[in-house]
């Protein structure tokens, strides 16, 4: 039987209360939301928190809404709600691409976006998705809130910018004209981790790529931001040839390891192909948007 080691459990009744508990209990305390990453880690003794603070009652952290020129997503928003959101599917369709292939529908009823990002597992899809669309995350502590860009959020494998006594409360996505996005993933079977996955977002102005974000899952120790590919793409007109070049950079700039999901050269090849495909689909989705604006 796999059972976590002993811990103390408490249920938060407010965000402030959860943060106060984190402050009081210090390093040994962890937030639990869906628990579908944390509990398996605890069963394997890879995580050994002394206190769990359950935030599942904090309904005020579960929402997807348009606020001015941003979409705001509460940290407790579950995968199933991200999948079903027509607002997200219209403005950032890569979320629905990814959510269709994250774990399985039953797991998606529990897992949350905040948990996914804070787990900071390199093979997890939403970290690449949020990197590609250049999301910002809101981290709250007793001293107030700070906003951190995805490029500064993951500071290493399973390690984030969320400090002691702090919690992630919101993910923010900037709404900019001419945007399109896509997520491409290859997995061995339903519910497995990716062999490789690529997220891409482009913003097209006057037929050229004004801005672009590309990130990879499962082919390195952390989510990989493809900054060299982004530099290549910025300012150029979208084309199959250009996106194929970006795919070559992706294959070169990732650092997969060999495991049961495949050898290194296969994963590099796959990362490249998926990057090209994600960019093609992102651009195809962006062009009608640009025509409308």
């Amino acid at each position: 039987m796999q059972t976590p080691a002993s811990f103390e459990y408490e249920r938060a009744t407010s965000v402030e209360g959860a943060i106060a508990s984190l402050q009081r209990l210090g390093f040994g305390a962890r937030i639990i939301a869906g628990g579908h990453s944390l509990l398996p880690m605890m069963k394997l003794r890879l995580a050994n928190p002394e206190h769990l603070i359950d935030i599942n009652d904090l309904k005020e952290l579960s929402y997807i809404r348009e606020e001015g020129d941003e979409i705001a997503i509460g940290a407790l928003t579950r995968h199933v709600d991200l999948l079903k959101s027509d607002l997200l599917a219209e403005r950032f369709p890569l979320f629905r691409d990814a959510e269709n292939v994250i774990a399985d529908p039953v797991v998606r009823n529990r897992g949350t976006i905040g948990g996914s990002l804070c787990q900071a597992d390199a093979a997890e899809d939403l970290s690449a998705v949020c990197s590609a669309v250049k999301a910002h995350v809101v981290i709250r502590g007793t001293g107030g809130e700070r906003v951190v860009g995805m490029e500064d959020f993951h500071i290493g494998p399973y390690t984030t910018a969320v400090g002691e006594g702090e919690m992630l409360t919101e993910i923010r996505l900037s709404l900019r004209p001419g945007g399109g996005s896509a997520h491409e993933k290859v997995e061995r079977r339903a519910g497995d981790w990716a062999i490789a996955a690529a997220s891409a977002a482009v913003w097209i102005e006057d037929g050229r790529i004004a801005d672009v974000g590309v990130a990879l899952s499962a082919v390195g120790p952390t989510t990989i931001h493809l900054s060299r590919a982004e530099e290549l793409l910025r300012g150029k007109a979208p084309s199959e040839e250009l996106f194929a070049q970006a795919g070559e950079i992706a294959a070169a700039d990732c650092s997969p390891s060999a495991d049961g999901r495949g050898p290194i050269d296969y994963k590099r090849h796959l990362a490249g192909v998926l990057t090209t495909r994600a960019l093609l689909r992102a651009a195809a989705r962006a062009l009608p948007q640009e025509a409308r604006s």
């Binding site: 039987m1 796999q2 059972t3 976590p4 080691a5 002993s6 811990f7 103390e8 459990y9 249920r11 639990i32 628990g35 579908h36 509990l39 398996p40 069963k43 769990l52 359950d54 599942n56 199933v80 774990a103 399985d104 529908p105 039953v106 797991v107 009823n109 529990r110 339903a190 519910g191």
Partner: protein, 159 residues
């Protein structure tokens, strides 16, 4: 800690360690061993129960997290000797051999039909994609869920 959970409409209270998983809390309740405990890693789906009407994997939820929520297990499907249509479908279409995955399959299928009374075969396959069956090859399970959907559609028409 003392935890009270509503299981199949009845309140079950017990003194437990906070680390007790929902699947064990359920199975240690008299007459509630129908929920199966399989892979322990949220992969196989044998432990699926409904929490507030949604299918969840009870091996990856703490019992303590369920206080104040309605849990429904496979035992709730049959009422006064009358099987639920999904159970009838599994019987009609021979959708089980060893039966280990069946409670999770039934609770997943029940939740699917409650949300989507007329699912396509692809939607059925997607719904049960988090549940592993090593006997049937899934064909008869999909057929059984389809049978239940059609049975319920006919019953609605009659009513």
């Amino acid at each position: 800690m003392n935890v009270s959970i509503s299981i199949n409409g009845a309140k079950v209270s017990r003194e437990i360690e906070p680390r007790q998983l929902l699947v064990h809390f359920i199975r240690e309740t008299p007459d509630l061993t129908g929920t199966h405990w399989g892979c322990d890693t949220s992969n196989c789906g044998a432990c699926v129960v409904q929490m507030d009407g949604e299918p969840v994997k009870s091996c990856t939820i703490l019992a303590a997290m369920c206080e104040g929520h309605e849990i429904r297990t496979v035992e709730s499907l049959e009422v006064d000797g009358r099987l639920d249509p999904v159970q009838m479908g599994f019987h009609e279409r021979h959708a089980l051999q060893c039966g280990f995955c069946t409670p999770g399959m039934l609770m997943t299928a029940r939740a699917l039909l409650d949300e989507n009374p007329d699912p396509t075969d692809v939607e059925i396959r997607t719904a049960i994609s988090g549940a592993i069956c090593r006997c049937t090859g899934y064909v008869n399970i999909v057929s059984a869920v389809r049978w239940a959907a059609e049975y319920e559609a006919a019953a609605r028409l009659e009513a």
